[in-house]
Each structure stands twice: as C-alpha cells, then as structure tokens.
C-alpha cells in the first residue's frame, strides 16, 4: 500500500531528480518501510550496474551521497553552516527550507515558543520512526450511494504529486505529530486563488494529539465547488497557537507560483506541502 504512494518519489530519488528535502523525507520513510526499501534497492542496483557496464562510476549517486553528507555535517557541526539538520522530523516532512527558516526566526524571536512546539520542530523522528504527514483521501461522487470507495491519494510530502478530479470529494488527515498542534490546511491554485480547507469558517482549528494513526481534520470537501482544473499547492501548517486566518491567506496569496512544486509559505511554522492536480 505504502509503495503505491511512494513509488514515484522513489524513482525520482534514484534518478537523482528529487530535491534534497523531499529525498530526506523519503529516506526517513525508507528506514521504516521494507516494501519501499526493496523497490529503492531494485532501482538503485540497475543504475549501479549500468554504470559498471559502461565502465564508469555512478556519479549521480556519488553526488547525492556528497550532498547528503553535507547536510549531515551541518547537523553535526551546528547552525553555523546554515544548513538544515539531518535528523529531521520536519525535513522528513519535506520541510528543510521551512525548518531552516524557522531556525532563523527562532534566533530573532523575542518570545520563545512553548516547549512541545519546539520539540515538534526539533528534528527527532516520531516514536515509531515515522514523520509527520498530511494525508489526502478522495472519493468519487456517486449518485446512488453518495460517494464511491475512499482512496488515499497523497501522503505529503513524500508521495509527490497527487491527482484527483472535480468529481471527487477530498478529506484531509494528519499523522505522525510529535506534539499537539493546531492544524491549518490551505490550497493555492494556479490563478492564485487561496482555498482554506481547515479550519472551516466559524469552526475552531483542530488540535490533534500526537499519534501514529491518521487523524481526520474535518468533513470532506466537494472539489466541484469553487475549484478549477489545474494544480493546487496544498499546505498543512502546524502551530502551537491557532493561526490567524487572514495571516495565512495573506501568506498563501504571496506564494511564488512560478516556482516548481509548492514553495514554503512565509510563515515561521512547520509546514507540510505538496501538489495536487485536479483533473476536469
């Protein structure tokens, strides 16, 4: 099941096409998932042997190893290198840029944040070795039964780009929190329109406790309402205090849509992000 969602990220990682933060997130998952690790090994052996057959070193793998070592060194030698730490829950959540930003904010923040929140940001893995993830479930509309079978379409950030359609209902869940956190989920489409999914207007933001199980963040959303086909940048924001909706919307509205993927929002909170493509 897990391999189904991580397959594309694994291929991209072995092909050397995955960003450093996404690769770190994937590797955190591979440490705990045998099926995904087997698939990774299978592909990695192909590149190794093809390199050997061509009589050369696997230079892409070498480059990736060096890049990983630099990140590891930064974690070992402290923040003077200004590189995100290696053992990263939040990097594992695909959030190296956000974590690095958060570190910078922490340095200048006049008021320290509550301890559990700092622990969340700290970078240790969860008890079961997993990393915080934003799960997106979808279900096709069905005139007879209301909706069809529920399927997991994304486990951000590790699963890479996910696809749904305007005929789908989607629902968000979070998994792998290290400390209780208020969760906000927003989306930004290609036209710059910001959608706030969690919390709904007039409803307090969910405040799930640490858990390795998926915790639902509210009722499902009908994508046919207010959405258009195209890419949607999804952000899960985890904070010690509820975030002001207008502040989140302002940050989401300013996201650089020319950049690939889902660039982090300008908010000093841990973020889980990814792309959702909505088909007609």
């Amino acid at each position: 099941m897990s391999l189904f969602f991580h397959r594309r990220a694994i291929v991209r990682a072995v092909a050397g096409e995955l960003s450093a933060d996404a690769e770190a997130s994937l590797r955190a998952h591979l440490r705990t998932c045998t099926a995904c690790r087997d698939y990774y090994d299978q592909l990695a052996r192909v590149t190794e042997v093809l390199a050997t057959a061509a009589g050369r070193a696997d230079t892409r793998a070498d480059d990736r190893a060096r890049a990983r070592l630099l990140v590891g060194l930064a974690a070992a030698t402290g923040p003077r290198d200004r590189v995100a730490p290696r053992r990263w829950t939040w990097a594992a959540a695909g959030l190296v840029p956000a974590a690095a930003l958060a570190v910078l904010f922490l340095r200048s923040a006049p008021h320290p944040e509550p301890a559990p929140y700092q622990a969340m940001r700290g970078g240790a893995e969860t008890a079961d070795g997993s990393a915080p993830a934003l799960l997106i479930f979808a279900s096709r509309k069905d005139t007879g039964t209301g909706h069809g079978p529920v399927r997991l379409v994304a486990e951000m950030p590790a699963s890479g780009e996910a696809r749904v359609s305007l005929d789908d209902y989607v629902q968000f869940s979070v998994r792998g929190l290290r400390a209780p956190a208020f969760v906000t989920v927003v989306g930004v489409d290609d036209a710059g329109e910001v959608h706030t999914y969690v919390p709904r207007a007039g409803i307090p933001p969910p405040h799930p406790a640490p858990s390795s199980a998926a915790i639902s963040l509210g009722a499902s959303i009908d994508l046919a309402r207010g959405h258009r086909p195209g890419r949607l940048r999804i952000y899960g924001l985890l904070s010690a205090e509820p975030l002001a909706p207008e502040r989140v919307r302002a940050a989401a509205a300013q996201v650089d849509r020319t950049r690939p993927g889902a660039p982090p929002l300008d908010l000093a909170v841990p973020q889980v992000s990814g792309l959702l493509t909505i088909a007609p």
């Binding site: 591979l30 057959a53 060194l73």
Partner: protein, 182 residues
C-alpha cells in the same frame, strides 16, 4: 591540510572525502550489500570520520589505512546495532578493495552486457538514445536533449521511465542479480 582535517575544518574534511570516498565505498559495500543500507552506512562512516578526525595521528600511519579502520569499525557497530553479525571476516588490505577478474566474473559480465544490449534493442529510437546517453553514459539532461533533439523535460521523463522498465525486465534483472548478489 592534515592539521586542518584534525582540527575539524570542514573544507579539509571535504577534500579528504573527495580524495578517499571512492576507496572507502567498496569497503562499506562489503558489509552492506543492499544499496539503501550501504548508502546509509556510508554516510554514517563519514560522519564518524568527521567526529574521530582529532584522533588521527599521521605519525602512526597513513590516512587511508586509518579511514579504512574507522569505516570497518563503524560498519561492524552498525551491523551489531541491527542485531546482525558481519558475514565475513573482512581483511582490509589494499588488494581486497581492487576488483579482480576471474573467468566466472568475465562470463557474468558478458551475460550482463548481452542483456543490456537486448534491452536497448527493444527500445524505441528516442528511448534508446536516452538509455545510452543518460543512463549508460550519464550525460546531463541538457546535453542529451541537445544530442537527441528532444526537450530536457522529455529526456528526464524517459530516463525515469527507462529506469523502471529496466528494473522490471526479467532478463536484465537476472543478469543484474548475477553481478550484484553476494
């Protein structure tokens, strides 16, 4: 440079890494056969080298033997931590790190080349170009795009697609298994 390396200087450490990583990697590969484990262990070895750099004493021996000893010890620790024992009592002499040829190895290599050639022949012309230039020769996407007349994006896509196809090709897998199984 050695003094800077011992003092924990990052640039000196990276120079040592660049100079010796290629010689340490095969040693780690003797302890960890699977690529993911090997990559993780390789990283752990070099982080250990960084931590242990102040203990290096040039008067007692060269850098490479010291690196090899650190690597072997770290690999054994990692195996022990996973509840496994090193399967081999690995000698650490130089010659052990050099690939030797024997008739059986040559035959395996021939079978692998045959499987690769057959796989390549099964590809469309565009795929064959990307397979040859990107996967075998490991040229950059831009260069492959220029040579093939395709867009870099398509080259990137084909590279990943071919990687998956190659991993699923039964004959290629058999040949790869022969040269990668312990």
């Amino acid at each position: 440079m050695v003094a800077r390396f011992r003092a924990g200087d990052r640039e000196a450490f990276l120079k040592v890494y660049d100079a010796y990583a290629g010689q340490v990697r095969p040693l780690v590969g003797r302890f960890f056969f699977r690529p993911f484990e090997r990559e993780e262990a390789f990283q752990e070895v070099w982080l250990q080298v960084h931590r242990a750099a102040p203990t290096f004493d040039a008067a007692r021996g060269g850098l490479l033997p010291w690196l090899r000893a650190v690597a072997a010890n770290r690999c054994k620790e990692l195996l022990r931590a996973r509840g496994r024992r090193p399967e081999l009592d690995l000698p650490l002499q130089d010659h052990d790190l050099v690939t030797t040829t024997d008739p059986e190895q040559s035959a395996r290599a021939t079978r692998m080349h045959t499987a690769i050639a057959r796989f390549e022949a099964s590809l469309s012309p565009d795929e064959a170009k990307v397979f040859r230039w990107s996967l075998l020769e490991e040229r950059g996407h831009d260069e492959v795009a220029r040579l093939s007349g395709m867009s870099p994006r398509r080259c990137k896509y084909l590279r990943m697609k071919l990687l998956v196809r190659a991993a699923a090709d039964s004959e290629l897998r058999r040949a790869l298994g022969e040269v990668t199984s312990p």
